[in-house]
């Protein structure tokens, strides 16, 4: 095939795909700045005639979006910090500390990945109900404080740490905690950033469990709040698009800023098929 024509074909195809993929997000942004009713015109307007922040004001003043946003931020940050601590400790132990039954225990954890999370949801709800934690942030945070994926990711990375370095520190008389905090943690930094981005995005986007565990509006996270709003305001497209923007923009920005780390986690997490 003619190489120059080939260049054109490939790049036009890529540009078309990208345009098609980004269009819904572009339109979400555009409609969110339209005046009430403007979005329900024919033909569908591509850009707002008179851009306005009306929908955003409405969302934060009357629809409780500020509350949901704060809740999402609290829940996702807490999950990220706590699970980072648990997963890093465990991942490091699986990679570098010796104990009887290590490989077997790790294999069991990996094997547990075949069980879909939803199988645990009903008993988990009852458990939390009997201890009085339903409709609290703890109900969403506690079960997410450790994950097999996170442990796996840290273990894969920590395995490449030079063992001599740890031995040298031990010979110098450093305790295991000091070695972990002062030698291991700094070396694990890249994978910790990866895991943090991954965990935060997952927690922010999570829907089914928060929908079950958070039964009152005061504790709704953004996805739960938005789903509930969308059932009330089906026809108010502008308002709904503004709600989608508020929910999606933080994670998109975070992804764009830390893309390199995120994609590495994605590839690392899938190599051991």
């Amino acid at each position: 095939m003619n190489p120059r024509r080939n260049v054109w074909l490939v790049n036009i195809a890529l540009a078309l795909c990208a345009a098609l993929v980004l269009f819904p997000l572009f339109w979400m942004l555009s409609v969110s700045f339209m005046q009430p009713g403007e979005a329900n015109n024919l033909p569908p307007p591509m850009l707002p005639l008179h851009p306005t922040l009306h929908n955003y004001r409405e969302l934060f003043a009357h629809a409780g979006m500020g509350r949901y946003f704060a809740n999402s931020l609290i829940v996702s940050s807490a999950i990220t910090l706590l699970s980072l601590a648990c997963n890093t400790l465990a991942g490091y132990a699986f990679a570098k500390l010796h104990f009887a039954g290590r490989e077997k225990l790790f294999g069991t954890l990996i094997g547990a990945l075949v069980i879909p999370a939803q199988v645990a949801m009903l008993p988990l709800f009852l458990l939390l109900k009997y201890v009085g934690l339903v409709n609290s942030f703890a109900a969403v945070i506690l079960p997410a404080m450790a994950s097999v994926f996170g442990i796996f990711l840290v273990r894969q990375y920590a395995r490449s740490l030079p063992g001599e370095l740890l031995e040298a520190a031990r010979v110098d008389g450093a305790g295991e905690w000091r070695i972990f905090l002062q030698v291991v943690l700094p070396l694990l930094k890249p994978i910790l950033v990866t895991l943090a981005v991954f965990t935060f995005l997952t927690a922010w986007n999570d829907f089914m469990w928060p929908l079950i565990a958070l039964t009152g509006q005061d504790h709704y996270t953004l996805p739960v709040g938005l789903a509930s709003l969308s059932r009330e305001h089906v026809q108010d497209s502008g308002l709904m698009m503004a709600g989608a923007v508020v929910t999606v923009i933080p994670v998109l920005v975070l992804f764009l800023a830390l893309q390199r780390y995120y994609l590495r986690g994605l590839l690392l997490g899938s190599v051991k098929g």
């Binding site: 074909l9 601590a85 132990a93 104990f99 009903l122 998109l252 590839l267 899938s270 098929g273």
Partner: protein, 293 residues
């Protein structure tokens, strides 16, 4: 302190969380599925009775369970191949030597993956609105009459499949792209010298080299697609005429709307068994060699 004791100390927080909030509930769920736990038992545990396999038996005789399973299988059987085709197609384009601005295109195509399902589902519902949605507007220009995407039981599931493909294909695209980049360039060089056409190169070099990755990605996608829930919950609320009620949607309604926790647990375990069987079959017939992870 003894080295092994330290290891267990480091493991304790994570194992405690996974044990209490995952392993224990899974086992309890199996027990729960053998009881008639309902709203009366929720109020007073004395109303709880052991019913053996009655929940499973009753579900297997309920048309709505089979309908939900059918909708879910429809979603998996059509959605997964479409997703994989989109992932592979875009990965091939991005891997082509002719492609310019690769990082930019890659980011653009990947963007939907990091978005929130609920938020983009809200957008989707608007795009596919029968009266003033862009999709019907464009179709009208092509001479295709208005399709009632949200109201016609024949069209609701295809719309949800399109949504899932759009939302998810970027994930596998990145993995397949890495797989493509790992294929040695001299294989293609040798094929070109032998006069192999691009199609034959694809057929005899690319596909066999990608085989194991395709199988793994396929298995992961199938198990992900079996867990269909948020999309119908937000876009169609299971309708029209229950045509988008998935297995998990049924579990959610049974458990958290009607408080039939026993039946809902049985639904969850049936889904688990079906997913396990489907992925194990793929592994077996896909030529997987090692133990599946």
């Amino acid at each position: 302190m003894n080295r092994a004791a330290v290891a267990w100390l480091f493991l304790t927080p994570a194992l405690l969380v996974l044990g209490v909030f995952f392993l224990l509930p899974v086992l309890a769920g199996l027990g729960l599925s053998l009881t008639d736990y309902d709203i009366y038992a929720l109020a007073n545990l004395h109303n709880l009775r052991f019913v053996g396999l009655a929940n499973y038996w009753e579900l297997l005789h309920r048309p709505l369970f089979w309908a939900a399973l059918g909708h879910t299988l429809y979603f998996v059987l059509v959605g997964v191949p479409l997703s994989m085709a989109a992932s592979l197609g875009t990965a091939l384009l991005l891997n082509s030597q002719a492609a310019k601005l690769k990082p930019l295109f890659r980011t653009a195509l990947f963007a939907p993956v990091v978005t929130t399902v609920v938020a983009v589902a809200v957008i989707w519902r608007y795009l596919f609105n029968t009266q003033f949605g862009v999709v019907n507007f464009v179709l009208a220009h092509l001479g295709i009459g208005p399709i009632d995407w949200l109201g016609d039981p024949h069209w609701a599931m295809p719309m949800i499949i399109l949504f899932a493909v759009w939302k998810n294909f970027g994930y596998n695209m990145i993995i397949l792209l890495a797989g493509l980049q790992a294929i040695p360039a001299d294989l293609y060089e040798a094929a070109r010298i032998d006069g192999a056409s691009p199609w034959r190169q694809f057929r005899h070099i690319t596909l066999p080299a990608l085989g194991p990755i395709l199988l793994m990605v396929g298995i992961l996608t199938v198990s992900g697609y079996f867990q269909l829930f948020a999309e119908p919950y937000v876009i169609t609320e299971g309708g029209p005429l229950q045509s988008t009620v998935s297995v998990l949607y049924l579990m959610y309604n049974e458990g958290f709307k009607w408080w039939n926790m026993g039946t809902a647990s049985a639904v969850a375990f049936l889904l688990f068994v079906i997913m396990f069987a489907a992925t194990a079959l793929m592994w077996r017939f896909g030529g997987g060699r090692e133990e599946p992870a």
